[in-house]
Amino acid sequence: MSAEVKTLKREGSTLAEKIYFVEIFKGMATTFGHFWRNLLDNSNLYVRHYPEVEPEIPVRWRGRHRLTSHDDGTVKCVACFMCQTNCPAECISIEAGERLDDKAEKMPVKFNIDLLECIYCGYCVEACPLDAIRMDTGIYSVTDNNRESFVLGLEDLLKTPGAFSEEEYKKGGA
């Protein structure tokens, strides 16, 4: 059985196309149409008026991290080091301590994420066995004036709320 050969029509070989000018004028008519429409009415430009108008962040967007907590306010993290081990950018550094609230044996005393190192891959969220770290804050732009302020501590990570409801988050495939 021979292979099926499909012959494609070669474009650009007619006389009108070889003279160039006809096609050039056609193209110029197209671009001028865009120019003229936008000049007369600039309300239909395909641009977002950032920063006044912000983009819509979907649930599955990997934004800045946060640490979740139990209903009574205690941290869910048990300092198992899964996220730190998994992190390809080595931006997480945890220091474990003894836990006294009977939830588990350990808890983090220090939990630092260096956002300048982080590549926002989401492996830490995947690795966490207790759903203690999430990237659902919806924060997509992290800016500051000095390097030190890009290192997030336990406090910062705990106090940022999630941008979505629990229901939506679960629907997002987490």
Binding site: M28, T31, L39, N42, L45, Y46, V47, H49
Partner: protein, 428 residues
């Protein structure tokens, strides 16, 4: 020399020197906002002074200030620092000076004395432009060579080859034009184009020489290093070509030189093929005789045009997102008031002309001003064509460029000369 003589010399030299410089801002603004609109973007429209954005013109000031205060780097590996520094100056200077022979209005006759309205009153006209346009490439070649950089050298090599292959069709297109006009003086050419063909078509170069026009425009695009012939820059293949090693104000000089060259070559195209300063159907003598009716029509037309312009500002100078007390509406209202003030001023001037004696000095000066406005409007439109082409056509491949130059434009230009000459001989 009377005081009037000196004043008019000062005015025409100032016009030839400063109008190209002012048009840098206009060109850059048109290029960036135009590019935005061609691609359904907005272009730079945020930079402002106290909330006044002037449709994005303020961005030019910001860019200029930035380039002025940047560090001017001359790398250690550059051995010929003199050539390195002088190269942008050559590009800039030749571009400015090449505009000097373009007449921006017909010869002004005051008290029986005539004053030529071009920067340098010489008769060689078009030859001066050709010489300087050829010379400006020396700047690019020097820049690429003295950069001691492989991309720079490639850029200047391309530019050299391109100039050799495109100067010839350009010169030949002009030869056939000279056969038609019978003069090398640009003012003579513009006066020739004030006539009417068959009594009702303006005798513009584009109607007499359509093939020559296409050849000249293509060659002019290549000469000014604009897309689709900007192989010397070719940012996607040779980074930035000849100005890769340039920074800060030296780069800005290159940049400005490029835009002045665009302005100058637009002015030459307009003078050669679009009747120069001539208003269609209204040659200079007719205009002087009918100065009053023309002034009256302008008095009617200006407010009508301003009415629609104000509507356009009101519609487009707003924020396209919910915003309380939109400052852009306030800004737009101030623009509208300013433009209405300008219109009232112009109306007063036109009214004064209506009161003056017809055919007198006032009429002559009015006609000159009218022709300057016409000329600048035509040049602006030609610059827009440059920008329009840039944002429509992709860059040619190098061999295609050479093929078009030698195998298409050169024979076409030669054939055009033969046909034109045959016609001219047969008709005379």
């Amino acid at each position: 020399m009377s005081l009037l003589d000196i004043l008019l010399v000062a005015i025409r030299v100032a016009f030839a020197a400063f109008v190209p410089l002012c048009f840098i801002a206009v060109c850059v603004w048109m290029e960036r906002r135009g590019a935005g609109f061609f691609q359904d973007r907005a272009g730079p429209n945020r930079a402002n002074i106290f909330g006044f954005r002037a449709a994005g013109l303020v961005q030019n000031l910001a860019d200029g200030a930035k380039l002025f205060f940047k560090e001017d780097v001359i790398s250690d590996h550059i051995q010929h620092k003199f050539y390195f520094v002088i190269a942008p100056l050559i590009v800039f200077f030749t571009a400015v000076v090449s505009f000097a022979v373009v007449p921006f209005a017909d010869t002004l006759v005051l008290n029986g004395k005539s004053y030529v309205m071009q920067g340098i009153p010489i008769d060689i006209g078009i030859l001066w432009f050709l010489a300087l346009a050829g010379f400006s490439v020396y700047g690019i070649i020097l820049a690429g060579w003295s950069s001691t950089n492989k991309y720079g050298l490639l850029g200047s090599l391309r530019s050299t080859a391109q100039v050799i292959s495109y100067e010839i069709p350009m010169g030949l297109a002009i030869v056939s034009l000279l056969v038609v006009y019978g003069t090398v003086n640009l003012n003579g050419m513009a006066q020739y184009q004030g006539q009417l063909l068959f009594g009702f078509i303006p005798m513009w170069g584009i109607i007499l020489q359509p093939v020559g026009f296409l050849i000249f425009v293509i060659a002019a695009f290549a000469e000014t290093n604009r897309t689709p012939f900007d192989l010397a820059e070719g940012e996607s293949e040779i980074v930035a070509g000849f100005h890769i090693e340039y920074s800060a104000m030296k780069f800005a000089i290159f940049f400005m030189g490029e835009y002045i060259a665009m302005f100058a070559s637009s002015a030459i195209i307009v003078t050669l093929y679009f009747g120069g300063y001539q208003i269609p159907f209204l040659a200079t003598d007719t205009l002087i005789n009918y100065a009053k009716p023309v002034a009256f029509l302008l008095m009617l037309g200006l407010p009508a045009g301003m009415y629609f312009f104000a509507g356009w500002i009101r519609k487009n100078n707003v924020s396209h997102y919910p915003r309380e007390n939109d400052p852009r509406v306030y800004e737009g209202n101030i623009y509208i008031k300013g433009f209405w003030g300008l219109v009232i001023l112009l109306e007063l001037i036109l009214f004064a002309i209506l009161l003056c004696k017809s055919g007198g000095a006032a009429a002559h000066i009015f006609v000159v001003l009218l022709q300057i406005c016409t000329f600048l409007m035509k040049v602006t439109m030609m610059i827009f064509v440059y920008i329009w082409v840039r944002w429509t056509l992709p860059r040619f491949r190098y061999d295609q460029l050479q093929k078009i130059g030698w195998q298409v434009l050169l024979p076409a230009a030669l054939l055009n000369i033969f046909i034109t000459s045959a016609f001219v001989v047969a008709l005379s």
